[in-house]
């Protein structure tokens, strides 16, 4: 009988492929500065249920899970005593992370309740891209675990993250400097497959990254690690450009909103006829989903074949 800690939870799943069975790996926790995460524009949405979603940073980090650290400078509970909805900022040396924890992050949510601002904190969690109503996007971190740490643990993270940022910058530069580079060529040159894949995806789908932004992040990290020493790559000290904050009412990504609507449909379908539209609208409204959003979400769910309209006033789960 296996003692394997992964027996509990679905981090690893046996893969059905030809050849030797290889377990799908638990998603690696990437070490990425907030400047790189917040500059992210690319998202790879899961095509099927239970498949992971990713965001791809300008330097090609293809992230599902992330390990962050910094100073917890703000926390605010927008939920209730029974059900917290924490919205926090964690500052690193390059800017700040937006951290949200609610009822789907019970451990992190409980931990946040007992943390006092300011303090050093580290978190492991999933990244989420959200879209504002004006079409601009942002990234937040949904922590699975968050705890208070000491300064030296934070500085360890700053160092690790600076090193891995530098590695990505160099690999990206290498990939950009030969126009016909593909993932295979990068793998052959010693880049690990997950990173190679992300780099090529970023090159194919994003503008070339501005290396200055990331050199400055490394510079600022090194200044924090080596106070009083001469660290100057020619960039001013100020933190990177301000990322936009998660606006009230649109913290949920559309995937999450779809989940909410699906759950509501089941809940409201008492007689098997489906959920009455007006009731659905009222409930959705109370959960921060506007009627326009609801329209969009139900269209999308119909496109996916998950719901249908038995008649004009009802919506029903398939």
């Amino acid at each position: 009988m296996s003692d394997n800690p992964f027996r509990s939870g679905g981090d690893y799943m046996p893969q059905e492929t030809r050849g030797p069975a290889r377990p799908k790996s638990r998603e690696t926790a990437w070490r990425v500065f907030s400047s790189e995460l917040n500059a992210t524009k690319l998202e790879i949405r899961a095509a099927e249920e239970k498949m992971p979603s990713y965001v791809v940073t300008p330097l090609g980090a293809k992230i599902n899970r992330i390990l962050i650290a910094g100073t917890l400078t703000e926390k605010e509970d927008r939920g209730t005593e029974e059900e917290h909805m924490w919205i926090c900022r964690i500052e690193d040396t390059s800017g700040h992370f937006f951290v949200n924890a609610g009822r789907f992050q019970p451990e992190a949510s409980a931990a946040l309740s007992s943390m006092t601002v300011p303090c050093y904190a580290a978190a492991v969690g999933k990244v989420r891209m959200y879209t504002n109503t004006d079409g601009s996007t942002g990234i937040s971190v949904r922590p699975e675990r968050i705890i208070e740490i000491d300064e030296s643990t934070y500085l360890d993270w700053v160092l690790d993250t600076a090193v891995s940022t530098w590695d990505r910058l160099r690999n990206m530069k290498r990939a950009c400097s030969s126009p016909d580079t593909d993932a295979e060529a990068l793998i052959r040159a010693g880049v690990n497959p997950a990173e190679a894949e992300g780099i090529i995806y970023a090159i194919d789908n994003d503008d070339p990254p501005d290396s200055g932004v990331y050199l400055r992040s490394i510079q600022n990290a090194l200044r924090r690690l080596l106070p009083g020493e001469d660290v100057d790559f020619g960039f001013p000290d100020s933190a990177g450009s301000e990322p936009s904050g998660p606006p009230a009412g649109s913290q949920e990504s559309s995937a999450e909103k779809e989940d909410i609507i699906l759950r509501l449909l089941e809940e409201l379908d008492s007689g098997g006829r489906g959920a009455p539209r007006d009731e659905l609208e009222r409930r959705a409204e109370s959960m921060g989903i506007s009627s326009i959003d609801l329209e969009e979400i139900s269209n999308s769910l119909m496109d996916k074949g998950l719901v249908y309209e038995p008649n004009l006033r009802y919506l029903k789960r398939i």
Binding site: S2, P5, D11, Y12, D134, L215, I218, E229, A248, S250
Partner: protein, 660 residues
């Protein structure tokens, strides 16, 4: 940070908090944020304001900066601008026809285009002055646009402003390719299309078609991308005018981009292109070669080979799982590892002969490898004699750490750490096997010798023609009938008992092993951690007083952690025993039991978890890979102490060396 510099900030916070906080507390709070936690002034201001309740929920979690129009860069995420409406119009925008107001805003320094996305009933009559709060900016085609989105708002102002009529944009400049600097925001060029390719990419949630290729003129060539290709059809060899281009630079490489507002139109100009070399492509039928003739530089070569080993693996390429076939091919002259990257409908059978067409070669770790991407593998109706002699003469010699299943016949130089003779029963037949542990300077591996080679502890050996089998993901070396063993003089520096350093990515690719060391961060504590009861007979953990072997038993208390260690290349499960758990959490078994009886077991576990999580550790032990993933049974564990300063200086000099 000195007092004088802080005074304005201090005053501002005091004013906003309206005496909710006394000056001493405020000073010590500020000191904590700025000097203890080294966050910037803005973060400190916001942190304190929120803590003392001066930022309400409707205010967003971000700060704004008041900007003059001529200082806008187009990258602002959160700016305030005070300006006078020069022109404005209410119009329907986008697919759903939502109503927006857009127009031109001006201040003393210039003008800029704006869009208010949710104007409601607001009127923005020309001539009036407004504060645009929480705006974000975008550049289109060298023009800066200010956006007031859902987070933003507009407030009428009493003051008046005299507007300077300079649009906040970069004027279009006519350019030759050779004179591009890479920072152009709005360039016009006339150039000949040397290469162009229409591709579909997935961007911002949708599939979109782009055109990319190479443009040329008298002064040089440049790669280009057209991001909105609808209605654009480029003919290779023709000349076009490209307007509204912007450039990006990645160190030395300039790239020309045409965004949504760029235009392309055919030009009658005749352009002689200089400095163009076609991008390398695999074309013409490959050169025919024997394996021994390969140099490793071939771009397109044909080989007639027999498959000696072949394995289908799934790798992730561009977000999608993809099967590749790798193995070892041989002919009359030698053997070579191969990888086939396009396997659609392809079946490669061990022992069969094929013609591999249009392969390319790479040299990796001094070994030539053949690769097939756009090439083909055609079954060949002839037998190829890969003579034993040839195959045996070139078995891959590897280091212990590189040994894994699927690499065929291998040779290894190693020392014998242990060896014992055992009888095993295989398919009803009793056989004698000599098994134990081998090591070189890179690692250790278990071996089994199926005949008596006279192997003794502390021998140094050259083992040729051994083969590899894995058990639960741990590769083991097998010395069979065809194996040759000879004594050598080498003195190996055997890795100390703390094991061979490996990354999780390496383990996932190559399997587990014995005495492996992992360095990473504890990112999770899983179910089954904390206080447990063990069977006094067999040490198995007992549930509800029942041992699965010994039935009802009086369990003995124990402490363990089932943790997840992530080393940034992957994650591995770690089973950590009592001693290391006690050391890691700074709490003994009996203290944990006392805590559990007082506060409950989950509180006791939470206490341990809070000490263990986010710790960087080095764990050594045997690693297996089973259906649930890789896991390490930790034999020893220590908290990693990094000399961050020394490591930071190392990184500093590496970055500096690459910048100059």
């Amino acid at each position: 940070m000195d007092k004088e510099e802080l005074t304005p900030l201090l005053e501002e916070i005091k004013r906003v908090l309206n005496d909710k906080i006394d000056e001493e507390t405020l000073k010590s709070e500020l000191d904590k944020y700025l000097n203890e936690y080294h966050v910037d002034k803005e973060a400190a201001r916001r942190g304190i304001l929120r803590k003392y309740g001066a930022i309400d929920s409707s205010a967003v979690l971000s700060g704004t900066v008041l900007k003059k129009i001529d200082t806008l860069t187009g990258n602002e995420q959160n700016a305030d601008i005070i300006g006078k409406i020069v022109s404005s119009e209410r119009r329907a925008a986008g697919q759903n026809g939502r109503i927006v107001i857009s127009g031109v805003l001006g201040d003393e320094t210039g003008t800029v285009q704006f869009t208010v996305w949710e104007p409601g009933d607001s009127e923005l009559p020309p001539g009036s002055v407004f504060a645009f709060r929480n705006c974000y900016c975008r550049t289109w085609n060298g023009t800066i646009q200010v956006n007031v989105g859902s987070r933003g708002r507009i407030e009428p102002m009493e003051s008046d402003i005299s507007v300077k009529e300079t649009a906040a944009s970069v004027p279009a400049e006519k350019k030759k390719i050779g004179y591009l600097r890479g920072s152009e925001q709005n360039a016009e060029i006339t150039a000949r299309v040397m290469e162009s390719e229409r591709r579909t990419v997935f961007s911002r949630g949708e599939n979109k078609e782009i055109i990319s290729g190479v443009l040329g003129d008298e002064t040089g060539t440049v790669p280009f991308t057209i991001w909105n290709s609808s209605g654009i059809d480029l003919e290779t060899g023709s000349v076009y005018d490209f307007a509204g281009c912007y450039c990006k630079i990645w160190r030395d490489q300039i790239q020309l981009n045409l965004g949504n507002n760029g235009t392309v139109s055919p030009s009658s100009e005749n352009i002689e292109v200089s400095g163009y070399t076609p991008s390398p492509k695999i074309s013409a039928p490959g050169e025919k070669k024997k394996i021994s003739e390969l140099t490793g530089k071939e771009n397109s070569v044909d080989l007639e080979v027999k498959i000696l080993a072949s394995d289908i693996r799934t790798v992730n390429i561009r977000g999608a799982p993809k099967d590749i076939i790798s193995g070892i091919a041989g002919d009359e002259t030698g053997t070579v590892p191969f990888t086939i990257w396009e396997t659609e409908g392809l079946k490669i059978e061990k022992g069969s002969a094929y013609t591999f067409r249009n392969c390319y070669c790479k040299v990796w770790n001094d070994t030539i490898q053949i690769n097939m991407n756009r090439g083909t593998a055609e079954p060949l109706d002839r037998n190829i004699d890969v003579s034993d002699r040839t195959f045996i003469a070139n078995p891959a010699e590897c280091k212990v750490k590189d040994i894994r299943e699927g690499i065929g016949s291998i040779s290894v130089r190693a020392s014998v750490i242990s060896c014992e003779k055992r009888e095993v029963e295989i398919k009803g037949e009793t056989r004698t096997v000599w098994s134990g542990m081998l090591a070189d300077e890179t690692g250790k591996i278990q071996f089994s010798a199926w005949k008596d080679f006279g192997i003794k502890e502390r021998d140094s050996l050259l083992i040729e023609n051994a083969y590899v089998r894995s058990w639960r993901g741990i590769p083991q070396l097998n010395l069979g009938e065809r194996c040759a063993v000879s004594a050598i003089d080498s003195d190996f520096e055997i890795p100390a008992d703390d094991g061979t350093p490996r990354t999780v990515a390496d383990i996932l690719m190559n399997g587990g092993g014995v005495d492996i060391t992992i360095s990473g961060t504890i990112v999770d504590i899983r179910a089954g951690s904390g206080l447990i009861k063990r069977c006094p007979e067999c040490r198995r953990s007992v549930l509800g007083g029942m041992c699965q072997i010994h039935g009802q038993v009086e369990g003995v208390s124990d402490l363990r952690l089932k943790a997840v260690i992530d080393d940034s290349t992957g994650a591995i499960g770690a089973v950590i025993g009592r001693q290391d758990t006690e050391k890691l959490a700074g709490i003994t078994l009996s203290e944990t039991e006392a805590l559990a009886s007082r506060l409950g077991e989950s509180a006791a576990l939470a206490e341990i978890a809070s000490k263990a999580l986010m710790r960087k550790v080095r764990a050594s032990g045997n690693v297996i890979v089973d259906d649930f993933g890789p896991s390490i049974t930790v034999r020893s564990l220590e908290t990693l102490k990094t000399d961050t300063k020394a490591e930071a200086r190392k990184l500093l000099s590496e970055v500096e060396a690459n910048l100059s």
